[in-house]
């Protein structure tokens, strides 16, 4: 059951659009424009009707699965329900239909929302100043590290290294490279936490920062955070908090109180904005006072009752977006925080942690739990017990799809063999949790009884198992 490419719906001369008749005199563009700049042949775009387009993309949507379809337990991605009212808010015409070059006086309502959002993000994280400019989590990491870079430059210190635990998100070391640092990886200990001795051994005068997510990617809270921050700060380094896992601690702990200096948020994770099939996200960065001068320009400020963009930032790390970041995503996050309220955010975290712990408890006898330490909003199992039967975690994930449930994050974090990283989020209810748990148990039984069923999964999806090796060997990247 495959869907043709959109161009295959085409027929020469078929149209799917209408525009008003041109009502000004028409000239030949080739007469005035520099030689050779007028296109000789039209771009071969599809020639299709509106109905063709609607049917094609409706058909494609039917071959997809979202949070609205069912549980989406991708670890570290926080695939919670995306409230519909937030979509409506982001589409209010006088909020949406504004131009980035309109003068501030015409967009005070939007700036007020953004300013309040900044304040909420500062309060939730325990930080002092916020930039909303980064358009994704990784973008936020990059900005945060560039702020650190700029800070040391201003201090006249040359610090070249960033320490990253081996359990970190891949974006952490990649962002450090983008920001011009050398990456030093440190090993986790047997409890799945930062090993203090390894950390001490890695720390020297060249270290600019440690990047950490807390809880870490195993869902385990780094209990030694006070010692960790002491070690880094004593060596003159700074502490970077990857906010991907904020859904685990809201109302219980704040990165600022843990003495982190810089944090990025993922509004699309913690604050429920839809993931869009891979984006848009939004990755605001929050910093302590002493790092505020280095934030990307411009910074949103308020004077009296007026909001304005402050471009006069001589020490800024620069700019990472043509305009002010993913504004539409910020409106949705604002709506979410306002409907949740402060107490609500705490309850959200509590239920995210409750759901994850319930699932972990129910699954730990069937699947190996490599790290027994207390975990918060997510947990990591291993498919290694099942592997002895020749079945891999990838097979288990594919088999889940047959039961019309999305698979957890797999093969991450890298420190767990055959990793299965589960993050149910607070918006799943007991029934959907139980269904997932039951399915995971059924699959484990199937591995014992009918391994080929799992090995050859998926069976019930629109396509069966796809050949990724062939795709990489002979890249076919366009029609």
């Amino acid at each position: 059951m495959t869907e043709p490419l959109i161009k295959e719906y085409g027929s020469p001369g078929r149209k799917g659009y209408s525009l008003p008749e041109l009502d000004v005199p028409e000239e030949n563009p080739g007469e005035k424009l520099p030689a050779g700049t007028v296109r000789k042949e039209a771009a071969e775009l599809p020639e299709v009707s509106e109905v063709d387009v609607v049917r094609h993309f409706t058909s494609l949507s039917n071959m997809n699965y979202g949070v609205d379809s069912g549980i989406y337990p991708l670890g570290s991605c926080t695939m919670k329900y995306n409230p519909k009212i937030n979509e409506d808010v982001a589409r209010i015409p006088n909020l949406a239909h504004i131009h980035p070059h309109q003068k501030e006086k015409y967009v005070q309502g939007s700036l007020e929302i953004l300013y309040e959002l900044k304040q909420y993000l500062a309060e939730i994280s325990g930080m002092d100043e916020v930039s909303l400019q980064p358009a994704s989590g990784a973008h936020g990491e990059y900005v945060g590290l560039m702020i650190i870079r700029k800070y040391f430059e201003k201090q006249g210190e040359e610090r070249t290294k960033v320490i990253v635990p081996d359990s970190a998100h891949g974006t952490n070391p990649a962002s450090a490279t983008m920001a011009g640092f050398d990456v030093v990886e440190i090993e986790s200990n047997e409890r799945g936490m930062v090993d203090l001795d390894s950390l001490r051994a890695a720390v020297d005068d060249d270290v600019a920062a440690l990047m950490l997510t807390n809880p870490n990617t195993l869902g385990i809270f780094e209990r030694d955070i006070c010692e960790i921050q002491q070690i880094i700060h004593d060596a003159g380094g700074l502490l970077y908090y990857d906010g991907a896992n904020m859904n685990a601690v809201m109302g219980y702990a704040r990165p600022g109180d843990m003495e982190f200096d810089v944090i990025h948020y993922n509004l699309h994770k913690t604050f429920s904005t839809p993931h869009g099939g891979g984006g848009p996200g939004s990755g605001p960065v929050a910093v302590k006072e002493r790092l505020a001068p280095y934030l990307p320009a411009p910074v949103l400020q308020k004077e009296g009752s007026q909001y304005y963009w402050d471009y006069d930032r001589p020490d800024t790390m620069g700019k990472v977006h043509a305009f002010h970041g993913n504004y539409g995503v910020m409106l949705r996050a604002y709506a979410y925080i306002r409907t949740a309220g402060g107490e609500g955010l705490r309850e959200i975290t509590e239920n995210a942690v409750l759901n994850a712990n319930y699932m972990k408890h129910k699954l730990k006898d069937t699947y190996e739990l490599p790290f027994a330490s207390d975990s918060l909003h997510e947990f990591v199992l291993s498919g290694s017990r099942q592997k002895k039967d020749g079945i891999t975690t990838a097979n288990i994930a594919k088999r889940l799809l047959d039961y019309e449930q999305y698979a957890p994050t797999i093969y991450f974090p890298l420190i767990v063999k055959e990793a299965i990283m589960v993050e149910p989020t607070e918006t799943e209810n007991l029934r959907s949790l139980d269904r997932f748990i039951e399915t995971m148990k059924i699959i484990s039984r199937e591995i014992e009884e009918e391994p080929e069923l799992v090995e050859n999964a998926p069976h019930n999806t629109v396509v069966r198992k796809l050949d990724e090796a062939q795709a990489a060997r002979n890249p076919d990247l366009r029609w």
């Binding site: 071969e44 009212i85 702990a253 043509a322 309220g341 509590e350 076919d476």
Partner: protein, 452 residues
């Protein structure tokens, strides 16, 4: 509303199963000395109705584009957006999904991305497109550091005719990698070719050309490409407006190595500048492909020989290659790329040409009428797509006053160049949405304002 569906009774049942008394017991790993021991200083929770009212109230403090006849562009363009786009992207299977890690249950997103990549290639005349980057400016940032890796050279030539925000972002991205940016001056709204000729050398990693440029003019693309021919290493990076490519020769035909740009004009709203999408296309070159940032979707087959789509060549990416990845990008702008896809499909071969032609013709008309006015000059009156550089030299009347008075007549006359560059004048943008009546009204209003 917190969108939690478990009842207190269910929560209790779950706690019992886990074997703890209270939810707070699950947080014991957090040391007491850092535990947050007060309530958030945040506003009280609102019901859906209260939220709606609150946001409406704030929104009323804006004057959105429907209050004006707007001629603002400079990187964000108000084109007509067919109704079907928003209807289709609101299919929740699209917008509530994430990165298609499980290909077999994400074929919709994957095939749409493959089609997006294909149509971007058609439009730009390039061989390979990725599945989107964060925005046009950051796409340029990625392109310059990609040129650095590919050529191992460090000099990047940035014309003063490049969008200033793009230049700023490129510099930010390039600085940690030791890139040495060289400004190329402008001359009459175009980059000064002579300076390009002088600055090009064997150490050059890339020349960046915006097409059309920030002031709305077309650069001498052919001559630029010819100059580059003498330097085997230097890459030609073109930052192109995709709508303009409905009318203009695709950068691929001029031998561009990397084409980037802002995809927003393709069916995405202006939305205060975001979310937009950056696009990036490269020529069909295996070596360059290995340096490409961002996700790629490829066509393949399933075990039964059926066609399907997967994310591919992921060994370039951060989740595999970590600190050696070609970029740190993970989340991109997939939904915006979907909007661009639906737009390109809906407008199609003919529609995109018609949009581009209408933009050109209406701009031409406005320029012709404006230049009949006294003390009014258009720097690039014969060399433009849908933006132009308007200069008004009326003694005793400042540009700010003109802007303000046009505003009072409900016209946003253009972007004041002094706010973004060291040049004077207005950057005026015309799209296919303008009618002759709008354009006549602009001219008449300016005439009245000048004679006020």
């Amino acid at each position: 509303m917190k969108y939690i569906s478990n009842t207190p009774a269910e929560q209790k049942q779950m706690l019992q199963e886990i074997g703890v008394e209270e939810i707070s017991d699950l947080f014991q790993a957090i040391p007491d000395n850092i535990k947050f021991d007060r309530s958030f200083n945040l506003p009280e929770a609102l019901s859906e109705l209260e939220l709606r009212e609150l946001v409406k109230e704030k929104a009323a403090k804006n004057l959105d584009l429907s209050n004006f006849d707007s001629y603002l562009g400079a990187g964000s363009y108000d084109h007509y957006i067919p109704a079907i786009i928003d209807h289709l992207i609101l299919r929740s299977e699209f917008y509530t999904a994430y990165t298609p890690y499980q290909a077999e249950l994400s074929q919709g997103t994957l095939q749409a991305m493959y089609e997006y990549q294909s149509m971007i290639c058609e439009l730009t005349g390039m061989g390979i497109s990725n599945a989107s980057l964060l925005d046009g400016a950051s796409a340029l940032g990625e392109a310059v550091i990609m040129a650095r890796r590919h050529t191992r050279n460090s000099r990047v030539l940035l014309p003063k005719t490049l969008h200033p925000a793009y230049a700023n972002v490129a510099r930010t991205y390039g600085e940690p990698h030791g890139l040495d940016f060289v400004d190329l001056p402008l001359e009459g709204g175009q980059l000064k070719l002579k300076s390009l000729e002088n600055e090009l050398d064997e150490e050059t990693a890339a020349v960046v050309v915006q097409y059309p440029n920030f002031f709305g003019s077309l650069e001498e693309m052919k001559k630029i490409a010819e100059l580059l021919e003498d330097y085997s290493k230097a890459l030609l990076i073109v930052a192109a407006n995709p709508i303009a490519l409905g009318l203009l020769t695709p950068p691929g035909d001029f031998g561009a190595d990397i084409v980037v740009g802002e995809g927003q004009p393709l069916g995405n709203t202006v939305n205060y500048g975001g979310p937009n999408l950056g696009y990036m296309a490269i020529k069909d070159d295996r070596r360059l492909l290995r340096q490409l940032p961002g996700r790629l979707v490829g066509k393949t087959e399933d075990v039964e020989g059926e066609t399907g789509y997967v994310m591919t060549m992921q060994t370039r990416e951060q989740h595999i290659r970590r600190e050696k990845a070609t970029s740190n990008i993970c989340t991109n702008q997939a939904l915006n790329a979907l909007m661009a896809s639906i737009y390109m499909a809906t407008m199609g071969k003919e529609g995109l040409q018609e949009v581009a032609n209408q933009c050109y013709q209406k701009t031409r008309y406005l320029i012709a009428r404006l230049t009949e006015l006294e003390d009014v000059e258009v720097v690039n009156q014969d060399n433009h797509f849908n933006e132009f550089w308007l200069k008004v030299d009326r003694p005793g009347t400042s540009l700010e006053e003109i802007e303000q008075k046009m505003c009072e007549r409900d016209i946003l006359a253009g972007v004041n160049l002094a706010e973004l560059t060291d040049q004077e004048g207005l950057l005026v943008c015309v799209t296919e949405k303008k009618t002759r009546q709008d354009l006549d009204n602009y001219v008449k209003s300016l005439e009245v304002v000048l004679n006020d």
